[in-house]
């Protein structure tokens, strides 16, 4: 560690207050935010949506939109108050002393300029003495430094020619171009798959240790906090509720909100626990053909294959992108159990879920539900598959018809749902609302008047009211805040169990899958890479990809 310990903090934020003013309305965004940032330190700022954490970063960078008005406090850099600096002085700090890394690596880079040129222009802007030749050499060094292989060759490539993880590395390289004192990283890994996320976090840690740069890492993810930060600021509704060293926050949180946040983080057990007692949990891993299964199968899918046509196909001259699709995928769902499908982006898990529900077709494969076979090549409506399985979708904000009230949506489910029995729909809707913890006065509202968690509860209610025997839930919690996530997972698990529904739970989050599911299928590049009982997969599977996924998780929340 080459940390330069000087007495004065590099950055000091004191009693910072901000309001958002638009027209006549004025909303407080931040109040009484104070913290110090020392050299070579990684300070994490954690909070849920609306906590104001990104606003802090923008305030330090001087990139606040004009609607934001500072109401109190100071931000001082190197002992000098930034609000007393001229606009030129502040602009001179940007990039050179304080750099930034944003969440969306795709949007951070100009799609029309080669990545080399983008780094080079940053070097030239920050150090006017550099010749073009030197700037180019430095850019190549930077690319190499952030772990881009063959930097000379890739120098002239454009952003779309890199993977997501590589793009975020390039963004970090640009941030490093001016050898800054501080990097403000706003959700730098949230758009990346878990295994890539881990590598990028390791890179940031290495850079801090090597160069002594300080990092403010803004995130919603306790896992990221536990992996690399030295100190943490816990924020809620614009206020700092707790600030301390990371180990203290994780082990002895003082504030109730911090405790709640920590408790909501799903933990993955990788040691062999007591054998699960739910029905059907014992899918023997050594019997992939299905022999030795004691439980009757509710749904069996076999040999589902699908090749996605490349986009822009004209007369055989198509673009060759990543090969999405499914290759000979099969799963078996014992009645009344929850089975998980885990995979990273592009693994085909969502497509497969839609095929199970009859929403998409695949050229080959079949689905058998209760001994009735369906040809997945025919549309779900024709083959009769459509309607046998209900779905719960990832993003509740687009899962409800925005022009129908909650009541209309739920009643439609009763009137037309699979059972199609005309019952006392109002009483049904009301009791379902109660069961899912939704106030009855929400019935008259439209979806945009509800919170994300409420909307997802309505989606669950809609699926349940159709009285299905099978439900596919596709990442039902990943668009929600972590504390809401935990509530939804619990609720889903309980209501499914009450009705003895068979469920497929699709997720990228191993810990949630473990909490929900008795059996797990691991998808990779459109294939089933590994499968078995939840117990087997997380504790004993020796499949290397499964192990990679498990090891990419923050150690802190794996036990």
């Amino acid at each position: 560690m080459t940390v330069d310990h000087t007495n004065a903090p590099l950055l000091r934020v004191e009693n910072l207050g901000l309001r958002h003013v638009s027209g006549a309305s004025s909303t407080p965004i931040l109040s009484q935010v104070s913290f110090d940032l020392g050299r070579g330190e990684i300070l994490g700022i954690i909070g849920e949506s609306g906590a104001g954490k990104s606003t802090i970063g923008n305030a330090i960078l001087g990139l606040l939109a004009p609607e934001f008005q500072q109401t109190s406090g100071t931000v001082s850099f190197g002992g000098k108050a930034m609000d007393r600096m001229t606009a030129e002085e502040r602009a001179a700090l940007r990039g050179k002393r304080i750099a930034a890394v944003f969440q969306d690596h795709t949007a951070s880079l100009d799609p029309l300029m080669s990545v080399g040129a983008q780094i080079e222009e940053t070097c030239l802007a920050l150090d006017t003495r550099l010749s073009r030749h030197q700037a180019r050499a430095r850019s190549i060094d930077l690319l190499a430094r952030v772990g881009i292989a063959e930097p000379e060759r890739r120098y002239g490539n454009y952003p779309h020619q890199f993977s997501g993880g590589q793009r975020q590395r390039i963004v970090i390289a640009i941030a490093l171009a001016g050898a800054p004192d501080i990097i403000i990283a706003d959700e730098p890994t949230s758009a990346l798959d878990a295994s890539v996320q881990k590598q990028v976090l390791d890179l940031i840690r290495d850079l801090v240790d090597e160069t002594g740069v300080s990092v403010i890492l803004i995130t919603h993810d306790m896992g990221v906090i536990s992996e690399i930060t030295d100190r943490v600021l816990v924020m809620r509704k614009g206020k700092v509720v707790e600030a301390d060293r990371t180990s203290v926050i994780l082990d002895q949180p003082a504030h109730a909100y911090t405790k709640k946040l920590l408790a909501a983080v799903p933990r993955l057990r990788v040691t062999t626990g007591p054998p699960q007692t739910d029905g059907g949990s014992e899918i023997a891993a050594d019997a992939p053909s299905g022999e030795g299964l004691r439980v009757p199968m509710h749904l069996v899918a076999e040999g589902v294959s699908k090749q996605f046509a490349p986009r822009g196909l004209v007369w055989g001259f198509g673009r060759r992108g990543e090969s999405f699709g499914l290759r000979d995928v099969g799963i078996r769902l014992p009645r009344g159990t929850i089975t998980g499908i885990v995979g990273e982006s592009g693994s085909g898990k969502t497509t497969f879920g839609r095929i199970l529900a009859g929403l998409d077709t695949a050229p080959s494969g079949r689905i058998i539900i209760d001994d009735q076979a369906y040809d997945v090549a025919r549309s779900g409506r024709r083959s009769g598959l459509l309607g046998r399985v209900q779905m719960i979708f990832q993003d509740p904000s687009v899962s409800l018809n925005p022009r129908m009230t909650i009541e209309e949506t739920l009643e439609e489910s009763i009137r037309f749902g699979a059972s199609a029995r005309r019952q006392d729909s109002q009483a049904n809707v009301a009791s379902m609302m109660d069961r899912l913890g939704l106030a009855r006065n929400l019935l008259a509202r439209h979806p945009h008047q509800l919170s994300g968690g409420q909307k997802q509860r309505v989606c669950i209610a809609r699926a349940l009211l159709a009285e299905p025997e099978l439900i596919v839930a596709d990442e039902p919690t990943s668009a929600l805040d972590v504390s809401v996530q935990a509530e939804i997972v619990t609720l889903l698990k309980e209501t499914i169990a009450e009705r003895a529904i068979t469920m497929v739970f699709i997720s990228h989050d191993l810990a949630i899958v473990q909490a929900m599911c008795s059996a797990v299928y691991i998808f990779k590049d459109g294939r089933v890479e590994d499968f078995g009982s939840s117990d087997f997969i997380f504790a004993r599977s020796d499949n290397s990809y499964t192990r990679t996924l498990i090891e990419a998780r923050p150690q802190r929340f794996t036990c």
């Binding site: 459509l386 209900q390 979708f393 687009v398």
Partner: protein, 291 residues
């Protein structure tokens, strides 16, 4: 839809309800409706027209006891009356054609998006084909093919405009079809009719509807251009466009009023429609009332 209109109405109360373009447009419509009552002369009635008073300058007193406030045209028709009656024709032609084009285009676009496959290919091939040519050219080809007459003009304008609606409606409907709430509706095995009319249409219709005022403005200009080229309404029943056209030959000899005043009226009409249209579009833009 109801919620959409209600929210638009609610918004209206906050905004300036009486902006200049709105007042102007309302005046135009009133004038058009009341034309037979307020026009000094019926320009379609040969008995009321005095040929020897042709090309009288503004302010000239006519033998029929009229004061020719804006002068007369080359056939002796009072310009004020020509404008009022021409306004009727321009508005009827453009509103009828835009409404019909919207209806056809919307149905075609939403059908293409929902049914996909060959329905989509067939409709969108035609739309792409048409939109790859300038509207004026399509209208020109259509009117040359169809022949002269007000009904033909309306038909030509429908042909020239439906594709715009179809493309917009298809684009919106396609993105709606891909949303999970549509999937959820399919999973309920709702009847196709209910999916289209209860779920898809209400959510796809707004952007196409906001197009209507702007397209009416286009239709007025298109009709005027066709009439100007001598391919539009018959000369004895001039629209605003043909009134301007009739004055063109006189312009070069200095009788500017024959084309100036109908042209000003036409410009004001199109401008007020466009401004009100933009306003409506801004107000109905879902991005502006997402919260």
């Amino acid at each position: 839809m109801k919620a959409l209109i209600l929210s638009a109405l609610k918004k209206r109360r906050h905004g300036p309800a009486l902006s200049a373009p709105r007042v102007l447009l309302a005046t135009y419509i009133l004038l058009a409706v009341a034309a037979p009552l307020i026009a000094p002369q019926n320009p379609y009635d040969p008995l009321q027209i005095y040929g020897w008073e042709a090309s009288s300058p503004p302010g000239a007193a006519g033998g029929g006891g009229y004061l020719y406030l804006l002068g007369t045209d080359g056939l002796g028709r009072d310009i004020v009356s020509t404008i009022l009656y021409g306004l009727r024709i321009s508005l009827v032609v453009s509103i009828t054609s835009s409404a019909a084009a919207a209806l056809i285009g919307l149905t075609a676009g939403v059908s293409a998006a929902y049914f996909g496959k060959w329905v989509d290919v067939a409709i969108m091939r035609l739309v792409d084909l048409q939109l790859s040519l300038p509207t004026i050219l399509v209208a020109l080809i259509a009117i040359v093919t169809l022949g002269p007459g007000i009904d033909r003009i309306i038909l030509a304008l429908i042909i020239a405009q439906w594709a715009t609606y179809a493309r917009i409606a298809r684009g919106v409907a396609l993105s709606e079809v891909g949303k999970p709430y549509m999937d959820a509706a399919r999973l309920m095995r709702l009847p196709t009719r209910r999916i289209i009319f209860r779920h898809l249409l209400p959510n796809s219709i707004a952007p196409a509807i906001t197009l209507i005022p702007i397209e009416i403005g286009h239709a007025v200009a298109l009709e005027a251009t066709l009439s100007f080229l001598g391919l539009g309404v018959p000369i004895d029943k001039p629209s605003l466009g043909s009134a301007v056209a009739n004055g063109f030959q006189y312009l070069l000899t200095g009788q500017y009023w024959i084309s100036l005043f109908p042209g000003l009226a036409l410009f004001g009409l199109i401008a007020s429609i466009n401004l009100v249209g933009e306003d409506v579009r801004r107000k109905l833009d879902p991005r502006n009332h997402a919260q």
